[in-house]
């Protein structure tokens, strides 16, 4: 009995490490844009983190619950409205001071998020298995 838990433990750990390695090395989302846009969007994610936007806002339903989900804010509201909201604040949201580079990177990030899909669950289709199909 004493050796059996160790074998099961090792087998599970190996499976976990393989799964982890697979996720790291296989691109989950195929990047179609140029390198420059990806870097800008990647830096925009850092701006999102620097100002802790995630404490109130969500992307694909993941994040804080005080403010609205911003998955498709780029196509729904447009670049100028986003910039104005960030600069002026609204209700519990304070006004943020971003440099031009930070502002542009944040917009590029939100553009990338928007282009990745729809955060509106009404567009999702439920299959017979109980799974959902994304639009």
């Amino acid at each position: 009995m004493s050796f059996k838990p160790l074998y099961i433990f090792i087998a599970l750990c190996i499976s976990y490490l393989l799964y982890t390695a697979y996720i790291y090395t296989m691109p989950i989302y195929k990047v179609q844009k140029g390198k420059q846009e990806n870097t800008k969007a990647g830096n925009g994610k850092l701006v999102w983190q620097k100002f802790n936007c995630q404490s109130c806002h969500q992307l694909y339903g993941l994040g804080g619950y005080l403010g609205p989900d911003l998955t498709n804010v780029y196509s729904n509201k447009g670049e100028n409205v986003i910039k104005a909201m960030v600069a002026s604040g609204i209700k519990a949201m304070p006004a943020f001071t971003l440099s031009d580079a930070e502002q542009n990177n944040l917009i590029e990030f939100l553009k990338q998020v928007d282009a990745s899909g729809s955060g509106d669950y009404r567009n999702y289709r439920v299959t017979s298995f109980g799974m959902i199909e994304l639009p």
Binding site: S2, P5, I8, F9, L12, S15, Y16, Y19, T20, I23, Y24, M26, P27, I28, Y29, V31, N38, T39, A41, G42, K45, L46, Q49, K50, F51, N52, Q54, S55, C56, Q58, L59, Y60, G61, L62, G63, G64, Y65, L66, G67, P68, D69, K91, A92, P94, F109, Q112, V113, S116, G117, G119, Y121, R122, Y124, V126, G130, M131, I132, L134
Partner: protein, 454 residues
């Protein structure tokens, strides 16, 4: 508990202080839901929320590792290295001061739940390495590990691995596309919870072993089956957090399939309820046991909700809503906190306060805590259901109108939160007060007896 467990208790004292701080910031953050201008120009919700989350997470992980160290000292007295323990606690103090100052200065940068400047992750990781060194030094001397030693080993090792994984975003390769980044982020968040649950459920097994005096609790095959089921879910069920994210399909299917294995736990609770009830009646008089019993009831409630949330067709109604918040609160307070409080009451029982039987105040506080937690949990669940219906409705009002319609639920949630703060503080302060009062009493009586002898 013997005096050998003193250094482990230092971690529990630090953890209790984190709980008290976390509760205060949680309450302040909740006020923003009913008054959007509350502290807006000072800390703001942007700092209050992470402050609350981080301090509560610290309560859980310092409390869990502290409980393990205290238990190890109880199993093998004088086996831990005191110097390493001092460095270990020093690391935590540095991390706590750094994290709090990071939030106060609005110096963010990390991802959700770990929003502080990433530099403060270093003392946390280092403290964890020290924990593992201490753990393995003792564990290697124990023959035929009971299930809780396996769980402590698993929780410790996986926490360090996953915590490091949490910072992969620092490398541009991992953050180049946010879908990849978010998939890894939620792989981490899901598995980290699984890792600390291993530590805490291990503590629960240890306590039951101790309370019942039945060594079979930690050695039987069912316990090992449950451990491996938990480990399997820790590793592979995290996909249920990202059903709505346009990530690879296999992530969704693996997450869904693995999550469904938790029905085994659910069915087991139903089948064993009569046996569990007999055990509960047998030990109910022992005050710390009541927290373990409460945690089991909260496991049932949260597991039931979690099973439905793990079905994607239901998940689109609960994801991104307060239904999920209720789940996080229900598990961290209802399960993790209850087990850790049970551990604190057992580990801090001493010559002055045995906690074997409850006083009237502790008993009343216990029941008020359970009812306020249920009200708190239910108000969030109902707010979540309402938001879930809104986000799937064809005639959707705007977000501001939705939040206004949820205000009655938020008021109940805040009132229940105030009661939770008071009741949990009573327990925290009672443990700390009795511990130090007894220390003073014992040291003064030793001094008196020494002077009499002289």
């Amino acid at each position: 508990m013997s005096e050998n467990t003193n250094s482990g208790k230092a971690f529990l004292i630090l953890a209790i202080l984190m709980l008290l701080g976390g509760l205060v910031f949680g309450l302040l953050a909740s006020f923003v839901y009913i008054d959007s201008q509350f502290l807006k120009d000072t800390l703001g919700f942007v700092a209050l929320r992470p402050m609350h989350v981080s301090l509560v997470v610290f309560w859980i992980i310092i409390g869990a590792s502290g409980s393990v160290l205290t238990a190890l000292q109880d199993i093998k007295p004088k086996s831990l290295n005191p110097k390493l323990l001092y460095i270990h606690i020093l690391c935590w103090l540095v991390a706590i001061i750094g994290v709090i100052s990071s939030y106060l200065k609005h110096d963010f940068g990390g991802r959700e739940y770990w929003e502080f400047n990433p530099v403060w992750a270093l003392p946390i990781a280092f403290s964890w390495i020290l924990y593992l060194i201490q753990f393995f030094a003792v564990a290697k001397t124990i023959e035929k590990w009971p299930v809780y030693i396996w769980m402590w080993m698993t929780g410790g090792v996986f926490f360090l691995f996953i915590f490091s994984e949490n910072y992969l975003w620092l490398f541009p390769y991992f953050r180049e596309h946010f879908i990849t980044d978010m998939t890894i982020q939620w792989k981490v968040n899901g598995s980290l919870v699984g890792a600390w649950n291993q530590l805490i459920y291990g503590v629960s097994f240890f306590l039951m072993d101790k309370i019942s005096g039945n060594k079979n609790v930690g050695q039987n095959k069912t316990a090992f089956f449950m451990y491996f089921l938990g480990l399997f879910n820790l590793m592979f069920n995290w996909g249920h957090h990202v059903y709505t994210l346009p990530t690879a399909n296999y992530v969704r299917y693996i997450g869904y399939t693995v999550s469904m294995t938790e029905w085994i736990l659910f069915i087991r609770i139903i089948i064993n309820w009569k046996k569990d009830l007999t055990t509960a009646q047998k030990h109910f008089h022992y005050f710390p046991y009541r927290f373990l019993l409460a945690s089991e009831i909260w496991v049932f409630l949260n597991l039931t909700a979690a099973l439905f949330m793990s079905i994607p067709a239901f998940n689109i109604y609960t994801h991104g809503t307060h239904f999920t918040v209720a789940h996080s609160m229900g598990t961290t307070i209802g399960i993790n906190t209850m087990i850790l409080l049970a551990a604190c009451f057992v580990f801090f029982s001493n010559a002055c306060h045995s906690y074997n039987k409850s006083t009237k105040i502790l008993n009343t506080t216990f029941w008020i805590l359970q009812f306020s937690l249920f009200t708190f949990w239910l108000s969030l669940k109902l707010a979540g259901i309402k938001k879930g219906i809104w986000q799937n409705s064809s005639t959707q009002s705007n977000y501001h109108q939705l939040m206004q319609s949820l205000e009655p639920y938020f008021i109940v949630f805040v009132i229940a939160g105030v009661i939770l703060l008071i009741t949990l503080s009573i327990f925290g302060v009672t443990i700390l007060y009795n511990h130090y009062a007894c220390k003073i009493k014992t040291s003064s009586s030793i001094q008196t007896s020494n002077s009499t002898t002289i």
